[in-house]
């Protein structure tokens, strides 16, 4: 978040120590309040089932039940679910980043008639709720025999307008003189995209890739509508079914939740800068 920090207002007056203490206390309380559900989730995942909902709450389990984390693999086909989710997330992210950045070059750096009207159509659909056209989409998939396949979800999610939009906004910040110079040197438009724009837009590519990956990983509605066979389910569907199946097994439900959030936490910690930049760019520059 270095960019955010450098842009922060300069400390005009030296803060007094007391004010500092008060500020940190407030911030600390806010952070705890926001993170408490996660703490509770981890704590419950390490308890015996009958210890999860007690009054008063015991935050630290008497005896850590690490066994929950091995037992869950036998109770639901978690390995299959995780594998499916990783596969879908990777394929969709790759396609979205590739086609999105490719199309963005056309929108940002090549001038031709009808370009801006076409781009407007792209943006307009970002504002149309998916729910408004999910029925025709579903009928098309059904007619094509693609419901209950990974292909349906890949087709639905890999060509989103969001990626085109995000990448175009970034390409606009890259000076045209650079492309012009490359053209004079004899590079084709495709060469400019591959050899100049792609390397220069690494931060935006990272933002788009991370946001797409996490969105696909977390997506519930798409798999919920399209995937009915248990062996195609994603981790989110598995987790949800677990709730119905073992309604009273609270500790297991929390163990499953922890396992579904853990990969996202790792990715978030590694790339939080790109997440936050991606959100800020797509929002503000729009």
């Amino acid at each position: 978040m270095s960019t955010a920090d450098t842009a922060a207002p300069p400390a005009a007056r030296r803060p007094r120590p007391l004010a500092q203490v008060v500020l940190y206390t407030v911030l600390g309380l806010c952070a705890v309040a926001i993170l408490v559900p996660f703490l509770w989730m981890v704590s419950a995942s390490l308890k015996r089932n009958n210890e999860v909902l007690t009054s008063p709450i015991r935050w630290i389990p008497d005896e850590f039940q690490w066994g929950n984390f091995t037992r869950i693999w036998d109770q639901i086909p978690l390995g299959t679910y995780l594998g499916n989710t990783v596969f879908l997330s990777l394929v969709i992210t790759l396609l979205q980043v590739l086609t999105g950045s490719f199309a963005a070059y056309g929108f940002a750096k090549v001038r031709f008639r009808g370009r801006d009207a076409l781009f407007l159509a792209y943006i307009a659909t970002i504002a149309v709720p998916w729910q408004a056209y999910m029925i025709p989409q579903y009928i098309m998939m059904q007619k094509a025999g693609l419901t209950d396949t990974f292909l349906s979800l890949i087709l639905l999610q890999a060509f989103g307008a969001f990626g085109v939009f995000l990448m175009r906004q970034y390409y606009l910040t890259i000076p045209d003189e650079l492309c012009e110079a490359a053209r004079v040197d004899g590079l084709s438009e495709y060469g400019i995209w591959a050899r100049i724009m792609l390397p220069l837009s690494r931060p935006a590519l990272a933002s788009l890739a991370l946001l797409t990956f996490v969105n696909t990983w977390n997506d519930y509605m798409g798999p919920f509508i399209y995937l009915t066979s248990n062996d195609l389910w994603t981790i989110q569907l598995g987790l949800r079914s677990f709730v119905g199946q073992y309604d009273a097994d609270y500790a297991m439900m929390m163990t499953g939740s922890v396992l579904s959030v853990l990969p996202i936490l790792v990715i978030f910690l590694l790339g939080q800068r790109y997440f936050i930049q991606g959100v800020a760019t797509s929002g503000i520059k729009g």
Binding site: M1, A4, D5, A8, P9, L23, L27, C30, A31, I34, P37, W40, L53, T54, S55, F102, A103, F107, K109, V110, R111, R113, G114, R115, D116, L118, F119, T125, A127, V128, P129, Q131, A132, Y133, I135, P136, Y138, L155, F159, V164, L172, D176, E180, Y220, M221, F224, I225, I235, Q236, L239, S257, V261, F268, F275, I276, V279, A280, G283, I284, G286
Partner: protein, 313 residues
């Protein structure tokens, strides 16, 4: 959205060229431009543009999976007005939006003001506030369902500790299920909009604050006279995004309450899903989705109109 279409002008062919070469170059540029856009556009057109048009047509047809589609004019919309559960879903969605939009906005703005400072460790606090947004809705819904457990949940234990005599039944109660859903969604979304507000705050020139300070304005006066007006464009954007997002609510409700208890949290998207995909009434479900789309459109346009009017005055 002002600089959305102010695309760069210098592009291949921008340099002065002999008049005869121009049409050919323009054609070449069109070909190159389309070749870049096509891979994405094919998927986009087939899976977004065609269905959007299809939804419009379907709304005026009666069609289930067994019988051929039949043009029925406005029948679906008449039925919609008489369908009790659709009307309940409409009311619940509006209720959700009325809670979710202002509360998320306030929480996000508060967090942004708190975290817009140069401070050791501020990055950690920003990340902590943003993290709920990237965690899966299913996990979030499951956890909050337990936190809201009427008897043993931490929320009610905390309320009792504060001295509340009979804390609400949250997701088990017809009256409190929607507030529980709203609180959960505010918690999850506020970090996202905080990032937008932070970017907006950092776009306000510090000189404006300095000038106000020199003029003797106190913190509250500076907030009213400098910060809030400076945030106008972001606030407007957040308002629109939040409104659109609120009317689309689906997963959170499905996992947390599945529309219940009874129909207390049934929302429009869920009604579309049930009628269209579960019951296979494609025409009727499309009519409901058209209503959802028009609602979002009218609200967005109204906000644009208000914004323009206030900007002019």
């Amino acid at each position: 959205m002002a600089d959305l279409l102010t695309a760069p002008t210098a592009a291949p062919g921008a340099a002065p060229s002999p008049p005869r070469a121009r049409p050919r170059r323009a054609r070449r540029n069109t070909l190159i431009g389309w070749s870049f856009i096509l891979p994405n556009f094919l998927g986009f057109a087939l899976l977004t543009l065609v269905p959007v048009a299809g939804a419009l047509a379907l709304s005026f047809m009666e069609w289930d999976s067994y019988n051929p589609p039949e043009w029925v004019g406005l029948d679906n919309f008449e039925r919609l007005l008489r369908d009790e559960s659709t009307m309940i879903a409409l009311r619940n969605t509006a209720y959700y939006a009325l809670g979710h939009v202002p509360l998320t906005m306030l929480a996000a703005l508060g967090l942004a003001l708190l975290l817009n400072r140069r401070l050791r460790g501020v990055g950690f606090f920003r990340a902590a506030a943003f993290f709920p947004y990237v965690t899966s809705l299913v996990a979030v819904a499951i956890v909050w369902n337990m936190l809201f457990n009427p008897e043993f949940g931490p929320v009610n234990q905390f309320l009792s500790w504060l001295g509340v005599d009979s804390p609400p039944g949250w997701t088990t109660s017809v009256d409190w299920a929607m507030p529980a859903v709203i609180l959960t969604s505010v918690w999850r979304d506020m970090g996202y909009y905080m990032v937008l507000f932070l970017a907006g705050l950092q776009a306000i020139p510090t000189e404006h604050h300095e000038a106000a300070r020199v003029d003797g304005a106190n913190a509250w006066q500076r907030f009213r006279a400098v910060t809030l007006p400076g945030l106008r464009p972001v606030t407007f954007l957040v308002l629109i995004l939040l409104t659109v997002q609120s009317f689309k609510v689906f997963d959170l409700v499905v996992v947390m309450t599945d529309g219940g208890p009874g129909r207390a949290t049934l929302v429009l998207s869920q009604q579309i899903y049930r009628r269209g995909i579960i019951e296979g009434e494609f025409g009727y479900a499309s009519a409901i989705s058209l209503v959802l789309f028009l609602l979002v459109l009218v609200l967005t346009l109204t906000q644009f109109w208000f914004n323009n009017r206030r900007e002019r005055s």
